[in-house]
């Protein structure tokens, strides 16, 4: 009997060795199951991931803030047919999502973070030749930029406004820096969150090309622009100004509105020449074409020679005014980085830093392109404060419905001169959002709280 077992074992082993001894076995078991699928293994693969503008650009950025701004209003009838997230955001309710609901504004941003982290994690494993170094750099820089962009959108929507005194202990966002989905990340402090954004952006500056090959891809110009925006939020006007300058040194093109056709559904066949980085807000019907321009805001366009009302807005036969040029060629709400914003950042920083002349010069440089040729009378300001007030009004008008108003409300509310209480009336009930209200931080979606155990915002 022993003999038999011995024989069986030995013959079994021989048979097994026929295959297992073969080194080709691993290669055989490593074959791609589907030729259309690839394990990212080349720089080209990663570059193609960065070109997934469905993830990084189109309807990709949080719009909850924009839903809550005073850029627009909607009618009771339209409000009633909106989704609960839209209805609740509109009236700044404490709870804004359905119970257990996943919210794109949160999850899309983290999908971008996952993509960026996947690219950053894969990069060191990839063999490349020395003449691919610039491609390697561009990929790395792009991933860092996209991650910073996603983190900034999250901070802008899901944390309290920045306050340098408390930022070290205020709640920030989970700073996911690895593609491993099993790792848990708590909410970092708000300061750490901004630091990470700045760090990613500073690093990518050294890696990215000055101008992008596609408007949807990151570039040095876009990174300077975003740095300028973030420093403005942090109240660091020197740095914001410096980065705005650097940005404009790469691209300072402004569109002459005299060359645009008023009322055109799509003002630009492709992209505005002012566009430095193209992106759009996550899709909400309430801020889409049915939204009406806030009447107080519209009143600010009081100069008949200002071409913007014709280009910006759509005039319904009912007399109501809707949005127009804020939608890109795909019909999405634009929220990228654009030279007009950078001009306004620059002017504001100069005014705040007391450089009255340059502040007004930069503002006028922008506005002259918005006026009928030959009719623009340059703005004047007696004091830096006067300049700042004028610049902020023009900022409000110029950047309507581009996702920036929410961030401006958050930071300007710190200053009593610019603080506003938002008011809305729905079905005869008046709702208000006072400055610095805890509702300036959106609730984090339930699944995130339940599954990763991070802390919810108190509203």
């Amino acid at each position: 009997m022993k003999n038999i077992i011995y024989k069986i074992l030995s013959y079994g082993c021989i048979a097994g060795l026929l295959l297992s001894g073969c080194k080709k076995q691993d290669a055989f078991l490593d074959t791609k199951p589907n030729i259309a699928l690839a394990v990212p293994s080349t720089l080209q693969d990663l570059q193609l991931l960065l070109q997934d503008d469905n993830v990084f650009n189109a309807l990709s950025f949080p719009a909850l803030g924009e839903l809550s701004t005073d850029d627009y209003y909607t009618t009771d009838a339209l409000w009633a047919t909106s989704t609960s997230t839209e209805r609740n955001s509109y009236v700044w309710a404490k709870q804004i999502y359905d119970a257990g609901q996943n919210v794109n504004d949160w999850s899309y941003s983290y999908t971008q973070v996952y993509y960026a982290n996947t690219i950053l994690d894969d990069l060191p494993k990839i063999n490349y030749t020395s003449n691919q170094q610039s491609l390697y750099n561009e990929i790395k820089g792009s991933a860092l930029f996209f991650r910073a962009m996603a983190f900034y959108g999250l901070v802008d929507n899901f944390t309290l406004p920045y306050n340098s005194a408390t930022a070290g202990t205020d709640l920030g966002i989970p700073l996911r820096l690895s593609s491993d989905i099993n790792t848990k990340y708590p909410r970092a402090s708000l300061q750490a969150s901004y630091n990470q954004i700045l760090q990613d952006l500073q690093t990518c500056l050294t890696l990215l090309p000055a101008k992008p090959s596609l408007i949807t891809l990151p570039s040095k110009g876009a990174a300077y622009g975003l740095l300028s925006r973030v420093y403005l939020v942090l109240g660091n006007y020197n740095q914001s100004l410096k980065n705005a300058d650097s940005c404009l040194s790469i691209n300072n093109t402004l569109q002459d509105f005299n060359n645009l056709t008023p009322g055109n559904l799509v003002p630009y066949p492709n992209y505005s020449p002012e566009d430095i980085f193209h992106g759009s807000l996550s899709g909400y019907y309430i801020i889409h074409r049915t939204a009406h321009v806030d009447s107080n805001l519209y009143k600010l366009f009081n100069d008949p020679n200002d071409l913007r009302p014709g280009v910006f807005f759509h005039y319904y036969s009912t007399g109501q005014i809707g949005f127009l040029s804020q939608f890109d060629k795909n019909g999405n709400t634009y929220c990228g980085i654009s030279t007009d914003e950078i001009y306004l950042n620059k002017a504001e920083c100069e005014a705040r830093l007391g450089d009255l002349t340059n502040a007004m010069a930069d503002l006028n440089a922008l506005l002259v392109t918005r006026w009928k040729t030959g009719t623009f009378v340059p703005y004047n300001a007696a004091t830096a404060d006067d300049a700042l007030i004028q610049i902020l009004i023009e900022r409000r008008k110029e950047l309507v419905m581009t996702g920036l108003r929410w961030g401006d409300l958050r930071r300007l509310n710190k200053d009593v001169r610019f603080a506003v209480t938002l008011t809305r009336v729905v079905n005869g009930i008046t709702y208000t959002l006072p400055p610095n209200d805890p509702r300036y931080a959106m609730p984090i979606p339930d699944p995130e709280i339940q599954l990763s155990g991070i802390q919810q915002n108190q509203r």
């Binding site: 038999i4 013959y11 490593d30 259309a36 193609l48 997934d52 189109a58 949160w106 999850s107 996911r176």
Partner: protein, 1196 residues
């Protein structure tokens, strides 16, 4: 005394009076195992003859004239002259002495006496077979024993009590022997102390010593190693006697396979395999695919179909290519002990198909089978979703007056029905009211189903021809078959033809070596030219009931399809191509062909060595190709519509054609290449005649590559096979009427590769035929799961135990001579190819903004991926009463699906909101009961009943994602799983119903516990717990009842299939879908207060519609019907002619048969006369028409 001493060694096999042990089985072996192995094949024939006829006298005469001739030659001479067969071991002939014989017209008996005078053989004539048997070496009688004469008599039976006719009862060491008669009885004069050997082919011989005063002996013989009566089951890796199997195997023999008539093999399994359910009410079934579950459903998202094995290798090709005429037998492996040897592909059960083979040392034998099957046209009037023309027109008029069609009419080009068009013209004043009315009224008596039935459907005619030849010499055997199938479908224009050529050869060049080679070639051609599915009017999904397709003279008439008729008539001022859609012309213009070939080459070497070992190496190569070509010529509507839609009018009024004037050829080619190799070591040993050990171990490598590509060319000319290449796919064209877009450019390529490396082993040990222990294990590695999972692969294993209780010493229940208990435990596996271990990306084009190439992450990496596992515990009893009057089995099983693939929620900050991985579990249990009875068993008339009852429940125990209730309620059906923990896998859900309102006939549901007509509120607020859970949408209790009557040469068999304990959602009408998606329920609707007492069909609602009202009603519990039904599946009648009976017959056996399939439903629980076997998710499915077959089968 000797008797007692022997009792310790073995079981009682011979009893005198019940309860008193008399004699025991000893270890003597009179016929060696090798002999038995060789005899196995012919033994069956022998037995068949034995059963029928008692020993005949040797009436045959022979003439022989031989000097010093080999015995083999003489045997052949006798065979030729008498037609008798010989039965012996080829090896023995080496010991034969040359023969001298000179007889003329002498009785066979005389001739045999002379021929075998000095030979070392005994012979016996049983029926028409001469059985040779090696003489024993003489043994001297033991000294000192008292020699006294003793007359012994008794009866020899098998373990089930069936008499064994022709068994040899011989005195060891002498030439004295006798053969049992047709009752299995014998009488032999012996002496006390003689050793008597009782032997029978295929059974273990049994010996005992003659004692004084022996009573009448009842001798039960146990099946031997190569038991001829016993059933063997094939796992694909080895063939084992069912006696020694622990697992749940169902063996389907050729009689049962041939009971039904069909082109494909698998459909013949319906209603004959306990626990095997054909899911007829699914989308897969409705689209013509086979949808089977064995013992329930064991996965959620992975492949749910059983693995098909043909001649030992997993079959990767199209199962329609398996010609049932080539199939010898089928074994269905159901539990873990049976199936786990197939590892990760065994979770849904395994169907092992063994094809016919040649036989060594057998003269050429042939078989011809031809049959024709004629099927009725489908019953189009069955469809409950139909509104007759009168109701349809009345509704159109009402809706017209409410302005529903105003927009379409004002656009001018949008399709409106002819009635709406007439109403529009009447309103516009272009036609008088009288004219409009008379035209409309003429429509009221038309039923489009008449034209459809007449011109688009036909009687199906399936013809099947098959010829096979087999035979073999000393060093080889062969099998060759040719099959030809011509099927005309019941859809005009659809047909399929199949040619199959199979051949297999086995060579035995030297002793112990077998070389096999087989080639299978299949070619099939399908014409798919029927266009009935395209007749629907765009946007409505159906055709208006008063459509006329063909005029009185047989000319095709146009119907409204994509555009309004007035638009089609006037567009382009006649310069455009004819834009009419004429269904009957489409049928004739259609040229849509699919051709496929499938080739399999199979080679193998088997070598026996070291007495108990053998090694096999086998390799199979399969290549299947299919080519699909749809030639839309310029006359076809598809092409005309496409060309017209892109036609550009130039500034000078001339036309240009971005889509060239010519045909549009759509092609798709796909290839399958499968390579499988296997090295296996077999070990078989029996020792002391009590211990049987059989072990196999092997390794296997398997590669399957599927490739496909598709393409569309424009300007195609079928005559010259040319097309135009300069097509502008990039620019956007603006054409009529509102066509805006680019020319479709379908060009694609896909390839998938599956790689497996597997190691497997199986061992079975049987002690004394009573106890069997089995162990089986397999490790699979594949390219699907990445190297990590492969490196820590754990085996899917099983173990089983079987106990033949009836063979125990203490077992004395005479009326129940067979009781076998089985228990098995183990794991089978399953696979889901959609998940991968590493992060994979997929490249594609058309990015949202750039429009260019980009890649997305198709699968986040998941190094933790594992195979799905199904744990199954199976308990079974096999039983048989005396003479097998009642036999059968009862099995109970418990299943657990572990690590099933499913979705579970993930913290969205990971980048994903759901995770697809091994996160779901299921559990199930079931019973399979099989009872076979021989109700009447006389010589001329026999009545056999076969009955099975299966009950199976599969429940989700863990699933990570819970959807809003509307998903379960509106999507749950028999075709797809919406898993909900705690509920049936195929659970059916609905909204709670609260009747119709009295005053308006509105349907009512429950909102927060209160009766409500707030439909939006009900839909939004019905929680998972508020849903009505109706039960499973797949049958949970099912089985068959088959009665077979045989009277002389006539045989009549009828099979009844029943499916119980399940539910389906019937369709009704919804106001917002009217009049197009009509339903017979419309006539039952609430019309006046009080109607709510006699109907549950809501009142008609006019615009503005509340679509939520329709949605609520369509998914309310009132529309859930019980699916229980009993169906008379088929009836078969056959008449057999045998050369034994009719000498003039040119064939050895001839059978005439007829068969009726899909006879009809005998009973159904639902009151609406619906066939619950139809998928409620697919429109245009009709009950399977009854088919009638006639055929002839001849053996020569």
């Amino acid at each position: 005394m000797q008797l007692n001493a022997l009792c310790k060694n073995g079981p009682v096999l011979v009893t005198g009076k019940p309860g008193k042990p008399l004699l025991t089985h000893t270890t003597g072996m009179n016929i060696s195992r090798q002999t038995l192995l060789c005899m196995k094949v012919t033994a069956f024939i022998l037995l068949a003859f034995c059963m029928q006829v008692s020993a005949t006298t040797l009436a045959q005469n022979v003439t022989l004239s031989e000097h010093n001739a080999p015995l083999e030659k003489v045997i052949n001479d006798i065979k030729q002259q008498t037609g008798y067969s010989f039965f012996y071991n080829q090896d023995w002939l080496q010991q034969a002495l040359p023969v001298d014989v000179q007889v003329k017209n002498a009785p066979l008996e005389t001739a045999l006496k002379i021929c075998f005078a000095n030979q070392p053989f005994d012979y016996a004539v049983v029926n028409k077979t001469i059985v040779l048997k090696l003489k024993e070496k003489p043994v001297s009688a033991p000294k000192g024993d008292i020699v006294a004469p003793a007359n012994i008599s008794g009866k020899v039976t098998d373990s089930a009590g069936t008499p064994l006719i022709g068994a040899t009862v011989a005195i060891k060491g002498s030439t004295k022997a006798t053969i049992t008669n047709e009752d299995g009885e014998f009488n032999l004069e012996a002496q006390v102390g003689d050793k008597i050997v009782v032997s029978y082919i295929g059974f273990r011989s049994f010996d005992f010593t003659v004692d004084r005063d022996m009573p009448y002996l009842n001798i039960k013989l146990m099946p031997g190693m190569s038991g001829l009566k016993e059933v063997t089951v094939s796992t694909g890796y080895q063939t084992i006697p069912k006696e020694r199997a622990t697992g749940s195997f169902v063996q389907i023999d050729s009689t049962l396979i041939n009971r039904r008539i069909s082109t494909d093999m698998l459909s013949r399994l319906e209603g004959v395999v306990p626990g095997l359910l054909f899911n007829r009410n699914t989308i897969n079934s409705a689209s013509g695919q086979i949808d089977i579950n064995i013992d329930g459903h064991s996965t959620i998202n992975a492949n749910d179909q059983p693995l098909i094995v043909v001649d030992g290798f997993a079959y990767d090709g199209d199962y329609n290519n398996i010609n049932p005429n080539d199939v010898e037998s089928i074994t269905v492996l159901k539990d873990a002990a049976a199936a786990s040897i197939w590892g990760v592909r065994s979770g849904n059960g395994v169907i092992v198909i063994t094809t016919k083979k040649g036989k060594r040392n057998q003269a050429l034998k042939g078989e011809i089978n031809a049959n024709v099957t004629i099927g009725n046209k489908p019953d189009l009037y069955y469809n409950p979703q139909f509104l007759d023309a009168n109701d349809f027109i009345n509704l159109e008029e009402t809706l017209f007056n409410k302005g529903v069609y105003d927009n379409a009419l004002s656009q001018g080009y949008l399709p409106v029905s002819p009635v709406v068009a007439l109403l529009g013209e009447e309103r516009a004043g272009t036609i008088s009211a009288v004219d409009a009315n008379s035209q409309i009224n003429a429509f009221r008596n038309i039923d489009v189903r008449n034209d459809l039935t007449k011109y688009f459907y036909q009687k199906s005619i399936d013809q099947q021809y098959n010829l096979n030849l087999r035979g073999g010499g000393d060093k080889s055997d062969y099998y060759f078959s040719f099959g030809d199938d011509h099927n005309r479908a019941n859809l005009v224009g659809n047909s399929s033809n199949r040619v199959t050529v199979n051949s297999s050869y086995n060579f035995y060049p030297v002793k112990n070596l077998q070389i096999s080679a087989a080639i299978n070639y299949v070619q099939s051609t399908n014409q798919i030219n029927n266009t009935v599915s395209g007749i629907a009017t765009t946007g409505y999904g159906s055709i208006y009931p008063y459509a006329q397709l063909v005029d009185k003279n047989g000319n095709a008439l146009p119907v409204v399809k994509d555009y309004a008729q007035t638009y089609v008539d006037t567009v382009g001022g006649g310069k455009y191509l004819d834009w009419n859609y004429r269904p009957y012309d489409e049928l004739r213009n259609s040229d849509n062909t699919e051709t496929s070939t499938d080739n399999r080459i199979n080679i193998g070497i088997k070598y026996d060595f070291l007495k108990h070992f053998s090694a096999t190496v086998r390799y199979e190569y399969e290549k299947g190709s299919s080519a699909y070509a749809n030639d839309n010529n310029l006359s076809s509507y598809y092409t005309r519509n496409l060309i017209n839609g892109f036609t550009q009018v130039n500034s000078d009024g001339s036309l240009s054609y971005p889509v060239p004037l010519g045909g549009v050829l759509q092609t798709e080619n796909s290839d399958l290449i499968s390579k499988q190799g296997r090295a296996q070591l077999n070990y078989n040993q029996n020792w002391n005649n009590k211990n049987d050990l059989s072990v196999i171990a092997g390794t296997e490598i398997h590669e399957t590559i599927n490739e496909s590509n598709y393409n569309t060319v424009y300007g195609y000319d079928a005559n010259t096979k040319t097309s135009q290449s300069n097509i502008d796919y990039y620019d956007t064209f603006i054409g009529l009427p509102q066509n805006y877009g680019t020319i479709p450019n379908s060009l694609g390529y896909a390839q998938t590769t599956d790689h497996y490396i597997s190691y497997y082993s199986n061992a079975a040990y049987t002690y004394d035929g009573r106890y069997t222990f089995s162990l089986s294990g397999r490790i699979d590695q594949s390219n699907l799961f990445g190297v990590n999972t492969n490196q820590k692969a754990v085996p899917l294993y099983s173990t089983g135990f079987a106990w033949s209780l009836s063979k125990e010493q203490f077992y004395h229940i005479d009326w129940l001579p067979l009781i076998k208990l089985r228990a098995t435990y183990g794991y089978t596996g399953n696979i889901d190819k959609t998940a991968t271990a590493v992060t994979t990306i997929r490249q594609t084009g058309g990015a949202e903004y750039s429009g260019g190439q980009y890649a997305y992450i198709a699968n986040p990496g998941n190094p933790e991926l594992r195979w799905e596992r199904i744990r199954k515990i199976n308990l079974g009893i096999d039983f048989g009463t005396k003479n097998n009057t009642v036999s059968g089995s009862i099995e109970y099983y418990l299943k657990k699906g572990i690590d099933l693939f499913g979705n579970s929620p993930l913290a969205p900050s990971t980048g994903f909101t759901t995770f697809y991985g091994n996160t779901a579990d299921t559990k199930g249990n079931g019973v399979d009961i099989v009872i076979n009875t021989k109700n009447i068993n006389t010589k001329n008339f026999k009545w056999v009943t076969n009955f099975s009852l299966s009950h199976v429940v599969d429940v989700v125990t863990r699933y990570g994602v819970t959807l809003p209730s509307i998903n379960y309620i509106t999507f749950s059906n028999a075709s797809s799983i919406y898993p909900l923990a705690g509920k049936d896998l195929f659970g059916l859900y609905s909204y709670k119903w609260a009747g119709l309102t009295h005053s308006t006939g509105d349907p009512q549901g429950y909102l927060n516990g209160n009766v409500s007509t707030n439909y939006a509120g009900i839909i939004a607020n019905t929680s998972i717990n508020d849903m009505v859970y109706n039960g499973s949408s797949r049958p949970t209790t099912f089985g068959y009842l088959r009665n077979t009557f045989t009277y002389k040469e006539w045989s009549l068999s009828a099979n009844i299939i029943y499916k119980l304990d399940y539910y389906f959602r019937k369709t009704s009408y919804g106001s917002s879908n009217l009049p197009w998606s009509g339903n017979v329920d419309f006539s039952q609707r609430w019309q006046n207060p009080g109607d709510e007492l006699k109907t549950n069909v809501p009142s008609l609602q006019y615009p503005p519609y509340d679509t939520n009202r329709d949605l609520f009603y369509a998914n309310s519990s009132i529309l859930i019907d019980n699916g229980d039904h009993i169906r008379l599946e088929d009836i078969t009648l056959s008449y057999d002619l045998n050369k034994n009976k009719i000498r003039s017959l040119p064939f050895s056996h001839l059978q005439l048969y007829s068969y009726i399939n899909n006879v009809g439903i005998l009973w159904r629980a639902n009151k609406d006369h619906l066939d619950p076997d139809l998928s409620t998710n697919t429109t245009g499915v009709f009950p399977l028409p009854t088919t009638f077959s006639f055929g002839i089968k001849a053996n020569f």
